[in-house]
C-alpha cells in the first residue's frame, strides 16, 4: 500500500504536506487503546530482541575459553561442608584461611590436583589426601610433620626466629603449636655451613643428618621422658653411622655433655638411664660429661 502511495506522491503532494508530523494525545478511548497496543507490541519486540541479545552474550561467555572445566555432571551444588582432619595441630579454621572463600563453587569447580600440590608446599604438611564427597562435601585429610628440635636463626631482615625441625630435616616456622610444646623441644646447635637458603628465597633447604638424630630423640621422648625433659641442646657431627667419628652431642640440665654414637640408640639410652639412677650420680647436681659412644664402655667425668 505504501508503494501505491509513493507512485501517487507527485499527484498528491499537495495534501501530503498537511499530514501531521507527530500524533497528538489520543482524543478517544479507542485511539488510546490503539496507541497502547502499538506501544505494547513495540515494547515486546524490543524486549524480545533484548532477551535474544542477552541470551547470545551469555552463551558466548559460557562457552568461551578453555580455562574453565566442562561441567560434565551438569549444574553443581555449591560446597556446603568441608571435612578437615589432621594428625597434628592445624585446624579447619587454618584451612579456611589458607584456602580462602568458597564463593559458591561446586565440587567440580575445584582443581583437586592443584589444591593438593599447594597444600604440600606448606612445610608443616607432610602428606595430604583431598577427595570429593558428592553432592556438597570437600574432604581434606593431612598428615603433619612433627617437630623434634627448635633451631633459632637470625637475619637482618626478619630478626631472630625459632624454626621447628622435623625428623626429616625440614625447617618450618610452624602454625598452631602451643607455646609450651615448643618450649619443651631441645634446641639444635648446628654448623651454620649446613644451613642453606632455598632457591626461591622462601625458607631453608632440609638439614642433612637430622634424620639420623631423629630416632634418638623419638626413643628418648617415648621411653625416657624424664631424661628427655632435661635435654636442652642437641648437636651432631657427621652422624653417618659408617663414619667412626660420627656422634651426637646433647647438653642437658644435669649433664653438660652427653655423647652418643649414631648406632644402637636403645642400648646407649639404657646405659644412660642406669647410670643416672646410680645414687652417686643422682646426688650430684651436675655431671661434666658422659660418653656412651664406645660400645659397651661408658666414660663419665663427674
Amino acid at each position: 500500500m505504501k508503494k501505491k502511495a509513493k507512485n501517487k506522491s507527485s499527484a498528491s503532494a499537495g495534501w501530503k504536506k498537511l499530514a501531521p508530523k507527530s500524533s497528538r494525545r489520543p482524543v478517544s478511548s479507542a485511539a488510546l487503546r490503539k496507541r497502547l497496543s502499538s506501544s505494547g507490541k513495540f515494547f515486546l519486540l524490543i524486549l524480545a530482541l533484548g532477551a535474544l541479545s542477552y541470551g547470545g552474550w551469555w552463551l558466548e561467555k559460557s562457552t568461551r575459553s578453555g580455562s574453565r572445566t566442562l561441567d560434565l555432571t551438569g549444574p553443581g551444588v555449591p560446597i556446603a561442608e568441608v571435612s578437615f582432619r589432621t594428625d597434628g595441630v592445624l585446624s579447619e579454621k587454618w584451612f579456611h584461611n589458607w584456602f580462602g572463600p568458597l564463593r559458591d563453587r561446586s565440587l567440580m569447580d575445584l582443581d583437586i590436583g592443584r589444591l593438593h600440590r599447594e597444600l604440600l608446599e606448606e612445610d608443616q604438611v607432610a602428606a595430604a589426601t583431598i577427595s570429593r564427597e558428592f553432592p556438597e562435601t570437600l574432604s581434606i585429610e593431612i598428615r603433619e610433620r612433627q617437630p623434634i628440635l627448635v633451631l633459632r636463626l637470625g637475619s637482618k631482615k626478619e630478626g631472630v626466629r625459632d624454626w621447628l625441625v622435623s625428623s626429616d630435616g625440614t625447617l618450618y616456622l610452624g602454625t598452631g603449636y602451643p607455646a609450651k610444646t615448643v618450649s619443651l623441644l631441645p634446641s639444635l646447635v648446628v654448623d651454620p655451613a649446613l644451613i642453606r637458603f632455598r632457591e626461591d628465597g622462601c625458607g631453608f633447604e632440609r638439614l642433612e643428618g637430622v634424620s639420623s638424630v631423629a630416632p634418638l630423640l623419638d626413643l628418648v621422648r617415648r621411653e625416657y621422658p624424664g631424661i628427655y625433659r632435661d635435654w636442652v641442646e642437641v648437636s651432631y657431627e657427621r652422624p653417618d653411622e659408617d663414619d667412626p667419628g660420627a656422634h651426637v652431642r646433647v647438653r642437658s640440665g644435669k649433664v653438660r655433655n652427653l655423647r652418643f654414637s649414631p648406632e644402637n640408640y636403645a642400648a646407649q639410652l639404657k646405659r644412660l638411664n642406669y647410670l643416672l639412677l646410680e645414687p652417686d650420680i643422682r646426688r650430684r647436681p651436675s655431671i661434666d660429661s658422659i660418653d656412651l659412644s664406645h660400645g659397651r664402655s661408658v666414660f663419665a667425668k663427674l
Binding site: 500500500m1 505504501k2 501505491k4 502511495a5 507512485n7 501517487k8 507527485s10 499527484a11 498528491s12 503532494a13 499537495g14 495534501w15 504536506k17 498537511l18 499530514a19 501531521p20 500524533s23 497528538r24 489520543p26 482524543v27 478517544s28 479507542a30 485511539a31 487503546r33 490503539k34 496507541r35 497496543s37 502499538s38
Partner: protein, 403 residues
C-alpha cells in the same frame, strides 16, 4: 501472502470504516466493516474535532476487531463544499528522434499540467487524469506510438487546508497513516458506474445526509466533480420546522412516509406524529409530508442542474444519471430528478460479488474507496507488469474496470 487495507468515510450522519483483504490471487474480500453515528460533521466538514474523532475511532476499532487484524494505513474520503475542481492541462513534444512516444514525454506533460499551484491556504486533494491526446487524437496508451505532441490533462480538486488537516488529524490520532485522499464522488462513482457506463457518459449523484456529491463522466474519463451542500438532513430539518416536530421524529417520518413525488392518495391519508411540548401529538395528512420533501428535492436537483449547466448534454451522457447514497432511497426521487435534469435517471446498483448486507446505497463511497485505491492510476508505461495483472484480476472479480 494477503494484504490488509482500510477505508474511512467521515460522513455527516455516520462515520464508516472498512477493512479489506487482498489475496495473492487478486481477490478482495471485506473482512470488517463498522459505522458509528457522527455528531462532529456538518455538510461534509468537521466542525467538532473531538466528536468526529470519537466516532471515526470507534468505527475503526470495531472494524479491526471484526476483521481480527489491524491496518496500518487507510484510504480517506474527502467531501465538503470547500472542494473545488478545475481542469489543468499540459503538453510536451515527443523528444525522441524517431518520434516514438516514451514515458518521459508523458511525465513532462504531466509535470507541466500540475505545475499550477492552488490559491494560498488551499492544497490539491486529488488529480484525476483525463484522456491523453496525441496529435489531436485521443489515445489510451501512446507509449511506443509515433507522434509529435502529447497533450495531457487532470481534473484537479483542491480544498481548504484547515478542513483537510482536520480530517488527516482524525486518522493520525488513531495511529494510522493516510495512504491517499480520494474524492467521495470519485469513490462512489467508481463503485456504482461500470466502465461501459463511464465510456457512454454518465452522471453519478451520491445523495448523502449533509452533502450531495457529483461526478460526471465522458468517454470514460472524469469531466466534472462537484459538491452541493444540500443533503438528506436538510429534508429532515424542513420537516422538523414545517411540522414542528423534533428532528429524530422528522427523520423517522421521512424514512417511513416521505416521498419525493406526492401521490394523489396522499390527501386522504393521515399520519400520526409526535409533536413537541407546545403542540403535542397530532396527525397530519401525508400530503403535508410529501410537499415538504418534494420542494427540497426539486431544489436540490435544480441546484445540480445549474451547477452542471451545459455539461448535462443528453448526447454526451448516453448512460444517463445514476442515483446512489442514502438519499436515493426516497420513493419517487428518480421521477423528480429526470424531470428537473432532463435525462433518464435510475438508482445505481452494485456490481456482482458484493455481499447483500454491504450492498446498501449508503455504503457506495466507503466501498468505492477500496476499489479505487487498489487501482493503478499512474501514467501508462509506468505500470509494473505484475501489478497490472494483479489489478486486472481485481477488476475482473468485482466487475470494475480501470480508467
Amino acid at each position: 501472502m494477503s494484504k490488509i487495507i482500510g477505508a474511512v468515510e467521515i460522513g455527516t450522519s455516520k462515520a464508516k470504516a472498512l477493512v479489506g483483504e487482498v489475496t495473492a490471487e487478486g481477490g478482495l474480500s471485506i473482512v470488517g466493516m463498522a459505522s458509528r453515528p457522527n455528531e462532529g460533521v456538518r455538510k461534509g466538514e468537521i466542525v467538532d474535532y473531538r466528536k468526529a474523532a470519537t466516532a471515526v475511532h470507534a468505527a475503526l476499532e470495531e472494524a479491526e476487531k471484526m476483521s481480527g487484524t489491524t491496518v496500518d494505513s487507510v484510504y480517506l474520503a474527502q467531501t465538503g463544499a470547500h472542494l473545488r475542481g478545475q481542469m489543468l492541462r499540459g503538453s510536451a513534444s515527443v523528444s525522441s528522434s524517431d518520434n516514438r512516444v516514451s514515458v518521459s514525454d508523458l511525465e513532462r506533460a504531466s509535470e507541466e499540467a500540475k505545475r499550477r499551484q492552488p490559491e494560498t491556504g488551499r492544497s490539491y486533494v486529488h488529480h484525476v487524469r483525463t484522456p491523453i491526446i496525441l496529435d489531436e487524437k485521443v489515445v489510451e496508451d501512446p507509449v511506443g506510438m509515433l507522434g509529435d505532441k502529447i497533450d495531457l490533462g487532470y481534473w484537479s480538486i483542491d480544498g481548504d487546508d484547515q478542513a483537510i488537516r482536520l480530517a488527516l488529524h482524525v486518522i493520525s490520532n488513531y495511529s494510522l497513516e493516510v495512504a491517499d485522499l480520494i474524492l467521495s464522488s470519485i469513490a462512489s462513482s467508481t463503485m456504482m458506474a461500470g466502465p461501459d457506463l463511464r465510456r457512454a457518459g454518465t452522471l453519478v449523484i451520491d445523495m448523502g445526509a449533509g452533502v450531495t456529491d457529483l461526478a460526471l463522466y465522458r468517454q470514460g474519463y472524469v469531466a466534472f466533480t462537484g459538491v452541493v451542500p444540500v443533503g438528506g438532513d436538510h429534508v429532515t430539518g424542513d420537516l422538523s420546522m414545517g411540522l414542528r416536530i423534533l428532528e429524530p421524529y422528522a427523520e423517522k417520518l421521512k424514512i417511513e412516509h416521505g416521498t419525493a413525488s406526492p401521490r394523489s392518495s396522499d390527501d386522504k391519508e393521515e399520519v400520526w406524529i409526535i409533536g413537541n411540548k407546545t403542540i403535542g401529538d397530532r396527525s397530519v395528512p401525508r400530503k403535508a409530508i410529501s410537499d415538504v420533501v418534494h420542494v427540497r428535492v426539486v431544489e436540490l436537483f435544480e441546484i445540480i442542474s445549474k451547477e452542471l449547466g451545459g455539461l448535462l448534454d443528453p448526447d454526451e451522457l448516453k448512460g444517463g444519471v445514476l442515483l446512489t447514497g442514502g438519499g436515493s432511497l426516497l420513493p419517487g426521487i428518480e421521477e423528480i430528478a429526470a424531470k428537473v435534469l432532463g435525462l433518464p435517471v435510475r438508482r445505481a446498483s452494485f456490481p456482482p460479488g458484493i455481499a447483500p448486507e454491504l450492498a446498501q446505497p449508503e455504503n457506495a463511497t466507503v466501498l468505492g474507496l477500496l476499489h479505487y485505491g487498489l487501482q493503478d492510476h499512474g501514467l501508462p508505461g509506468r505500470k509494473a507488469g505484475e501489478s497490472q495483472t494483479f489489478m486486472s484480476k481485481i477488476a475482473g472479480l468485482v466487475g470494475i474496470g480501470m480508467n
